[in-house]
Protein backbone atom coordinates (compact mmCIF):
# COMPACT_ATOMS: atom_id res chain seq x y z
CA UNK A 1 0.00 0.00 0.00
CA UNK A 2 1.53 3.24 -1.03
CA UNK A 3 1.55 5.60 1.89
CA UNK A 4 1.50 9.34 1.61
CA UNK A 5 3.39 11.88 3.63
CA UNK A 6 1.31 14.47 5.39
CA UNK A 7 1.99 17.22 7.88
CA UNK A 8 0.02 17.10 11.13
CA UNK A 9 0.12 20.17 13.35
CA UNK A 10 -1.08 20.12 16.95
CA UNK A 11 -4.36 21.69 15.97
CA UNK A 12 -4.82 18.96 13.34
CA UNK A 13 -4.44 16.25 16.01
CA UNK A 14 -6.83 18.17 18.20
CA UNK A 15 -9.35 18.44 15.36
CA UNK A 16 -9.01 14.69 14.72
CA UNK A 17 -9.59 13.97 18.41
CA UNK A 18 -12.60 16.29 18.48
CA UNK A 19 -14.07 14.66 15.39
CA UNK A 20 -13.83 11.20 17.00
CA UNK A 21 -15.30 12.46 20.27
CA UNK A 22 -18.25 13.71 18.23
CA UNK A 23 -18.55 10.52 16.16
CA UNK A 24 -18.52 8.51 19.38
CA UNK A 25 -21.75 10.18 20.47
CA UNK A 26 -23.25 9.70 17.01
CA UNK A 27 -22.34 6.02 16.74
CA UNK A 28 -25.79 4.67 17.50
CA UNK A 29 -25.80 0.93 16.86
CA UNK A 30 -22.03 0.63 16.67
CA UNK A 31 -18.95 2.43 15.44
CA UNK A 32 -19.36 0.86 12.00
CA UNK A 33 -22.26 3.19 11.18
CA UNK A 34 -19.90 6.16 11.40
CA UNK A 35 -17.63 4.74 8.67
CA UNK A 36 -19.16 6.92 5.93
CA UNK A 37 -18.54 10.02 8.01
CA UNK A 38 -14.96 8.96 8.81
CA UNK A 39 -14.35 8.50 5.10
CA UNK A 40 -15.76 11.93 4.37
CA UNK A 41 -13.54 13.49 7.05
CA UNK A 42 -10.24 11.58 6.73
CA UNK A 43 -10.06 10.90 2.99
CA UNK A 44 -12.24 13.38 1.14
CA UNK A 45 -11.97 16.48 3.31
CA UNK A 46 -8.46 16.36 4.82
CA UNK A 47 -6.58 13.84 2.71
CA UNK A 48 -4.94 12.30 5.79
CA UNK A 49 -5.52 8.75 4.51
CA UNK A 50 -5.60 7.26 1.03
CA UNK A 51 -8.71 5.42 -0.10
CA UNK A 52 -6.71 2.17 -0.01
CA UNK A 53 -5.50 2.79 3.55
CA UNK A 54 -9.03 3.55 4.62
CA UNK A 55 -10.70 0.47 3.21
CA UNK A 56 -7.82 -1.82 4.18
CA UNK A 57 -8.13 -0.61 7.78
CA UNK A 58 -11.73 -1.77 7.79
CA UNK A 59 -10.97 -4.98 5.94
CA UNK A 60 -8.10 -6.00 8.25
CA UNK A 61 -10.24 -5.32 11.32
CA UNK A 62 -13.05 -7.43 9.85
CA UNK A 63 -10.70 -10.30 9.18
CA UNK A 64 -9.00 -10.14 12.59
CA UNK A 65 -10.47 -11.37 15.86
CA UNK A 66 -11.98 -8.86 18.25
CA UNK A 67 -14.63 -6.18 18.10
CA UNK A 68 -14.98 -4.37 14.78
CA UNK A 69 -14.34 -1.01 16.45
CA UNK A 70 -10.61 -1.77 16.22
CA UNK A 71 -10.67 -0.48 12.65
CA UNK A 72 -10.67 2.94 14.30
CA UNK A 73 -7.32 2.13 15.89
CA UNK A 74 -5.88 1.21 12.49
CA UNK A 75 -7.09 4.48 10.98
CA UNK A 76 -5.34 6.47 13.72
CA UNK A 77 -2.25 4.29 13.32
CA UNK A 78 -2.17 4.99 9.57
CA UNK A 79 -2.65 8.74 10.01
CA UNK A 80 0.28 8.73 12.45
CA UNK A 81 2.43 6.71 10.06
CA UNK A 82 1.61 9.09 7.21
CA UNK A 83 2.57 12.02 9.41
CA UNK A 84 5.85 10.28 10.29
CA UNK A 85 6.79 9.52 6.69
CA UNK A 86 5.54 5.94 6.40
CA UNK A 87 6.24 2.68 8.17
CA UNK A 88 9.75 2.48 6.74
CA UNK A 89 10.77 5.79 8.29
CA UNK A 90 11.79 4.24 11.62
CA UNK A 91 10.92 4.60 15.30
CA UNK A 92 9.69 8.18 14.96
CA UNK A 93 6.97 7.11 12.56
CA UNK A 94 6.04 4.17 14.80
CA UNK A 95 5.69 6.48 17.79
CA UNK A 96 3.46 8.80 15.78
CA UNK A 97 1.47 5.75 14.71
CA UNK A 98 0.87 4.80 18.35
CA UNK A 99 -0.02 8.38 19.11
CA UNK A 100 -2.55 8.45 16.29
CA UNK A 101 -3.98 5.15 17.50
CA UNK A 102 -4.40 6.59 20.99
CA UNK A 103 -6.05 9.77 19.67
CA UNK A 104 -8.69 7.97 17.62
CA UNK A 105 -9.38 5.09 20.04
CA UNK A 106 -9.70 7.26 23.15
CA UNK A 107 -11.80 9.66 21.08
CA UNK A 108 -14.22 7.00 19.84
CA UNK A 109 -14.48 5.21 23.21
CA UNK A 110 -14.54 7.87 25.91
CA UNK A 111 -17.85 9.71 25.35
CA UNK A 112 -19.88 6.63 24.42
CA UNK A 113 -18.69 4.42 27.28
CA UNK A 114 -19.13 7.21 29.82
CA UNK A 115 -22.61 7.89 28.55
CA UNK A 116 -23.48 4.19 28.47
CA UNK A 117 -22.20 3.74 32.01
CA UNK A 118 -24.29 6.61 33.32
CA UNK A 119 -27.40 6.02 31.23
CA UNK A 120 -27.67 2.23 31.44
CA UNK A 121 -29.03 2.10 34.95
CA UNK A 122 -31.32 5.07 34.41
CA UNK A 123 -32.64 3.65 31.15
CA UNK A 124 -33.10 0.23 32.69
CA UNK A 125 -35.08 1.65 35.58
CA UNK A 126 -37.19 3.78 33.24
CA UNK A 127 -37.57 1.38 30.34
CA UNK A 128 -41.37 1.69 30.40
CA UNK A 129 -41.35 5.46 30.05
CA UNK A 130 -42.84 6.79 26.84
CA UNK A 131 -39.76 8.87 25.97
CA UNK A 132 -37.38 5.93 26.40
CA UNK A 133 -39.56 3.67 24.26
CA UNK A 134 -40.03 6.35 21.60
CA UNK A 135 -36.26 6.76 21.32
CA UNK A 136 -35.53 3.02 21.18
CA UNK A 137 -38.23 2.28 18.61
CA UNK A 138 -37.94 5.50 16.63
CA UNK A 139 -34.25 4.94 15.97
CA UNK A 140 -34.79 1.41 14.64
CA UNK A 141 -35.45 2.28 10.96
CA UNK A 142 -32.68 4.89 11.06
CA UNK A 143 -30.20 2.29 12.28
CA UNK A 144 -31.23 -0.13 9.51
CA UNK A 145 -30.74 2.59 6.88
CA UNK A 146 -27.34 3.45 8.34
CA UNK A 147 -26.12 -0.13 8.19
CA UNK A 148 -27.09 -0.54 4.54
CA UNK A 149 -25.50 2.82 3.67
CA UNK A 150 -22.32 1.77 5.47
CA UNK A 151 -22.12 -1.42 3.42
CA UNK A 152 -22.58 0.63 0.27
CA UNK A 153 -19.86 3.14 1.14
CA UNK A 154 -17.43 0.35 2.04
CA UNK A 155 -18.13 -1.52 -1.17
CA UNK A 156 -17.73 1.65 -3.23
CA UNK A 157 -14.48 2.59 -1.42
CA UNK A 158 -12.68 -0.39 -2.94
CA UNK A 159 -13.02 1.01 -6.42
CA UNK A 160 -10.11 3.09 -7.62
CA UNK A 161 -10.67 6.24 -9.61
CA UNK A 162 -10.89 4.49 -12.99
CA UNK A 163 -13.87 2.79 -14.50
CA UNK A 164 -16.16 1.08 -11.98
CA UNK A 165 -15.24 -2.59 -11.75
CA UNK A 166 -18.41 -4.63 -11.95
CA UNK A 167 -16.54 -7.65 -10.58
CA UNK A 168 -16.19 -5.87 -7.23
CA UNK A 169 -19.83 -4.87 -7.13
CA UNK A 170 -20.80 -8.41 -8.01
CA UNK A 171 -18.67 -9.79 -5.17
CA UNK A 172 -20.23 -7.34 -2.69
CA UNK A 173 -23.71 -8.19 -3.91
CA UNK A 174 -23.12 -11.96 -3.70
CA UNK A 175 -21.66 -11.57 -0.19
CA UNK A 176 -24.74 -9.58 0.84
CA UNK A 177 -27.02 -12.24 -0.54
CA UNK A 178 -25.16 -15.13 1.09
CA UNK A 179 -25.05 -13.48 4.53
CA UNK A 180 -28.69 -12.51 4.25
CA UNK A 181 -30.03 -15.90 3.16
CA UNK A 182 -27.64 -18.46 4.67
CA UNK A 183 -25.74 -19.17 7.88
CA UNK A 184 -22.32 -19.61 6.30
CA UNK A 185 -19.54 -18.59 8.71
CA UNK A 186 -18.30 -15.09 7.92
CA UNK A 187 -14.71 -16.28 7.89
CA UNK A 188 -15.37 -18.49 4.86
CA UNK A 189 -16.75 -15.51 2.98
CA UNK A 190 -13.81 -13.28 3.84
CA UNK A 191 -11.50 -16.10 2.80
CA UNK A 192 -13.31 -16.49 -0.50
CA UNK A 193 -13.04 -12.73 -1.08
CA UNK A 194 -9.31 -12.84 -0.33
CA UNK A 195 -8.84 -15.75 -2.73
CA UNK A 196 -10.79 -14.07 -5.54
CA UNK A 197 -8.72 -10.92 -5.00
CA UNK A 198 -5.42 -12.79 -4.93
CA UNK A 199 -6.08 -14.59 -8.22
CA UNK A 200 -7.01 -11.29 -9.84
CA UNK A 201 -10.77 -11.74 -10.28
CA UNK A 202 -11.48 -8.45 -8.55
Amino acid sequence: MSHMTIVMQWHDWLALFGQYLLLSLLSISGAITTVPDMHRYLVAQHGWLTDAQFSSSVAIAQAAPGPNVLFVALMGWNVGLNAGGGIGAGPGAWLLGFFGLLVTMVGIMLPSTTLTYLATRWGHRNRDRRGVRAFKQGMAPVVVGLLIATGWVLAAGNHSGDAPAWHLWLLSAVATLVVWRTRVHLLWLLGAGALLGAIGFV
Partner: protein, 196 residues
Protein backbone atom coordinates in the same frame (compact mmCIF):
# COMPACT_ATOMS: atom_id res chain seq x y z
CA UNK B 1 -8.22 -20.69 30.17
CA UNK B 2 -11.51 -21.05 32.02
CA UNK B 3 -11.06 -20.58 35.76
CA UNK B 4 -14.04 -22.74 36.61
CA UNK B 5 -15.16 -25.87 34.77
CA UNK B 6 -18.44 -24.98 33.10
CA UNK B 7 -21.54 -26.73 34.35
CA UNK B 8 -19.95 -27.64 37.70
CA UNK B 9 -21.67 -24.94 39.75
CA UNK B 10 -24.54 -25.94 41.99
CA UNK B 11 -27.97 -24.75 40.78
CA UNK B 12 -28.57 -22.81 43.99
CA UNK B 13 -25.41 -20.84 43.36
CA UNK B 14 -25.76 -18.95 40.04
CA UNK B 15 -22.42 -18.76 38.24
CA UNK B 16 -20.77 -15.37 38.24
CA UNK B 17 -17.32 -13.92 37.60
CA UNK B 18 -14.92 -14.32 40.52
CA UNK B 19 -13.00 -11.10 40.16
CA UNK B 20 -12.22 -8.26 37.74
CA UNK B 21 -9.30 -10.41 36.63
CA UNK B 22 -11.71 -13.20 35.78
CA UNK B 23 -13.72 -10.70 33.71
CA UNK B 24 -10.62 -9.50 31.91
CA UNK B 25 -9.51 -13.02 31.02
CA UNK B 26 -13.00 -14.14 30.01
CA UNK B 27 -13.58 -11.19 27.72
CA UNK B 28 -10.11 -11.47 26.20
CA UNK B 29 -10.82 -15.12 25.41
CA UNK B 30 -14.21 -14.21 24.02
CA UNK B 31 -12.88 -11.40 21.81
CA UNK B 32 -10.12 -13.59 20.38
CA UNK B 33 -12.72 -16.06 19.12
CA UNK B 34 -14.76 -13.38 17.38
CA UNK B 35 -13.69 -13.19 13.77
CA UNK B 36 -15.85 -10.76 11.81
CA UNK B 37 -17.84 -9.68 14.86
CA UNK B 38 -18.13 -10.76 18.46
CA UNK B 39 -21.86 -10.73 19.17
CA UNK B 40 -22.53 -14.39 18.37
CA UNK B 41 -19.61 -15.39 20.60
CA UNK B 42 -20.87 -13.26 23.49
CA UNK B 43 -24.17 -15.10 23.38
CA UNK B 44 -22.50 -18.51 23.31
CA UNK B 45 -19.94 -17.83 26.07
CA UNK B 46 -21.93 -15.63 28.46
CA UNK B 47 -25.32 -17.33 28.18
CA UNK B 48 -24.68 -20.94 27.19
CA UNK B 49 -21.25 -21.76 28.60
CA UNK B 50 -20.60 -19.54 31.61
CA UNK B 51 -24.25 -18.76 32.31
CA UNK B 52 -23.48 -15.38 33.80
CA UNK B 53 -26.60 -14.15 31.96
CA UNK B 54 -29.98 -15.76 31.34
CA UNK B 55 -31.25 -15.52 27.73
CA UNK B 56 -33.80 -12.92 28.89
CA UNK B 57 -31.12 -10.79 30.53
CA UNK B 58 -29.01 -11.07 27.43
CA UNK B 59 -31.78 -9.78 25.15
CA UNK B 60 -32.59 -6.92 27.46
CA UNK B 61 -28.94 -5.91 27.88
CA UNK B 62 -28.37 -6.21 24.17
CA UNK B 63 -31.24 -3.88 23.34
CA UNK B 64 -29.81 -1.23 25.66
CA UNK B 65 -26.25 -1.76 24.39
CA UNK B 66 -27.50 -1.24 20.88
CA UNK B 67 -29.47 1.91 21.53
CA UNK B 68 -26.60 3.57 23.35
CA UNK B 69 -23.89 5.14 21.20
CA UNK B 70 -20.59 3.31 20.90
CA UNK B 71 -19.54 -0.19 19.87
CA UNK B 72 -22.33 -2.56 20.95
CA UNK B 73 -20.23 -5.41 22.28
CA UNK B 74 -18.03 -2.99 24.20
CA UNK B 75 -21.14 -1.45 25.76
CA UNK B 76 -22.36 -4.93 26.63
CA UNK B 77 -19.03 -5.84 28.26
CA UNK B 78 -19.18 -2.60 30.26
CA UNK B 79 -22.69 -3.39 31.49
CA UNK B 80 -21.88 -6.98 32.50
CA UNK B 81 -18.63 -5.99 34.24
CA UNK B 82 -20.32 -3.12 36.03
CA UNK B 83 -23.08 -5.38 37.33
CA UNK B 84 -20.68 -7.53 39.33
CA UNK B 85 -17.81 -5.28 40.35
CA UNK B 86 -18.95 -1.73 39.61
CA UNK B 87 -16.75 0.58 37.60
CA UNK B 88 -13.69 -1.64 38.22
CA UNK B 89 -15.47 -4.60 36.68
CA UNK B 90 -16.67 -2.55 33.73
CA UNK B 91 -13.18 -1.32 32.98
CA UNK B 92 -11.73 -4.83 33.35
CA UNK B 93 -14.26 -6.29 30.92
CA UNK B 94 -13.78 -3.54 28.31
CA UNK B 95 -9.99 -3.73 28.64
CA UNK B 96 -10.19 -7.49 28.11
CA UNK B 97 -12.29 -6.98 25.03
CA UNK B 98 -9.78 -4.55 23.48
CA UNK B 99 -6.21 -5.00 24.73
CA UNK B 100 -4.98 -8.28 23.24
CA UNK B 101 -7.03 -8.01 20.01
CA UNK B 102 -5.47 -4.58 19.52
CA UNK B 103 -1.99 -6.13 19.65
CA UNK B 104 -3.05 -8.82 17.17
CA UNK B 105 -4.52 -6.31 14.75
CA UNK B 106 -1.43 -4.10 14.85
CA UNK B 107 0.76 -7.09 14.04
CA UNK B 108 -1.51 -7.87 11.10
CA UNK B 109 -1.35 -4.26 9.90
CA UNK B 110 2.45 -4.21 10.07
CA UNK B 111 2.61 -7.54 8.27
CA UNK B 112 0.24 -6.18 5.67
CA UNK B 113 2.26 -2.99 5.17
CA UNK B 114 5.31 -5.16 4.58
CA UNK B 115 3.64 -7.15 1.81
CA UNK B 116 1.38 -4.42 0.47
CA UNK B 117 3.48 -3.97 -2.67
CA UNK B 118 2.63 -7.55 -3.60
CA UNK B 119 -0.29 -7.44 -6.06
CA UNK B 120 -1.77 -10.69 -4.71
CA UNK B 121 -1.90 -9.28 -1.18
CA UNK B 122 -3.37 -6.00 -2.38
CA UNK B 123 -5.92 -7.95 -4.43
CA UNK B 124 -6.77 -10.20 -1.48
CA UNK B 125 -7.50 -7.21 0.70
CA UNK B 126 -9.55 -5.59 -2.04
CA UNK B 127 -11.61 -8.77 -2.27
CA UNK B 128 -12.06 -8.89 1.50
CA UNK B 129 -13.09 -5.23 1.47
CA UNK B 130 -15.81 -5.94 -1.09
CA UNK B 131 -17.03 -8.86 1.04
CA UNK B 132 -17.06 -6.88 4.30
CA UNK B 133 -19.18 -4.21 2.62
CA UNK B 134 -21.62 -6.99 1.81
CA UNK B 135 -21.52 -8.35 5.38
CA UNK B 136 -22.54 -5.03 6.87
CA UNK B 137 -25.24 -4.30 4.29
CA UNK B 138 -26.69 -7.77 4.93
CA UNK B 139 -26.74 -7.11 8.69
CA UNK B 140 -29.00 -4.16 7.95
CA UNK B 141 -31.19 -6.07 5.49
CA UNK B 142 -31.72 -8.88 8.01
CA UNK B 143 -33.18 -6.37 10.45
CA UNK B 144 -35.83 -5.11 8.01
CA UNK B 145 -38.48 -7.78 8.87
CA UNK B 146 -38.37 -6.63 12.52
CA UNK B 147 -39.74 -3.27 11.35
CA UNK B 148 -43.06 -4.93 10.48
CA UNK B 149 -44.09 -4.67 14.14
CA UNK B 150 -43.07 -1.01 14.34
CA UNK B 151 -45.63 1.51 15.67
CA UNK B 152 -45.12 3.70 12.59
CA UNK B 153 -46.07 0.90 10.23
CA UNK B 154 -43.87 -0.99 7.82
CA UNK B 155 -44.24 1.41 4.87
CA UNK B 156 -43.25 4.50 6.85
CA UNK B 157 -40.25 2.61 8.25
CA UNK B 158 -39.09 1.72 4.74
CA UNK B 159 -39.32 5.38 3.78
CA UNK B 160 -37.07 6.27 6.74
CA UNK B 161 -34.62 3.52 5.75
CA UNK B 162 -34.51 4.86 2.18
CA UNK B 163 -34.12 8.47 3.36
CA UNK B 164 -31.16 7.61 5.57
CA UNK B 165 -29.56 5.49 2.86
CA UNK B 166 -29.95 8.22 0.24
CA UNK B 167 -28.69 10.99 2.52
CA UNK B 168 -25.60 9.08 3.70
CA UNK B 169 -24.60 6.86 0.78
CA UNK B 170 -25.64 8.97 -2.20
CA UNK B 171 -25.74 12.60 -1.04
CA UNK B 172 -22.91 12.18 1.54
CA UNK B 173 -24.56 14.43 4.10
CA UNK B 174 -22.72 14.44 7.48
CA UNK B 175 -24.08 11.83 9.89
CA UNK B 176 -24.95 14.30 12.65
CA UNK B 177 -27.43 16.21 10.49
CA UNK B 178 -29.06 13.02 9.26
CA UNK B 179 -29.47 11.66 12.79
CA UNK B 180 -30.83 14.96 14.00
CA UNK B 181 -33.29 15.47 11.13
CA UNK B 182 -34.46 11.98 10.16
CA UNK B 183 -33.90 10.43 13.61
CA UNK B 184 -35.60 13.37 15.29
CA UNK B 185 -38.70 13.10 13.11
CA UNK B 186 -38.81 9.30 13.53
CA UNK B 187 -38.56 9.50 17.34
CA UNK B 188 -41.06 12.35 17.65
CA UNK B 189 -43.56 10.58 15.42
CA UNK B 190 -43.10 7.32 17.34
CA UNK B 191 -43.63 9.23 20.57
CA UNK B 192 -47.01 10.44 19.31
CA UNK B 193 -47.99 7.01 18.03
CA UNK B 194 -47.33 5.15 21.27
CA UNK B 195 -49.46 7.54 23.30
CA UNK B 196 -51.27 5.60 26.01
Amino acid sequence: MHPSPSGAAAPSDPPQPKSPRDLFVSFTWLALQGFGGVLAIVQREMVEKKRWLTPEQFLEDWAVAQVMPGPNVVNLALMIGDRYFGLRGGIAAVAGMLAIPLVVILMLAVLYAHYAGNPQVAGALRGMGAVSGGLIAATGIKLIPQLRKHPLGFAACLVFVALVFGAIALLKIPLGWVLLAVGGVACAWTWRRIAP
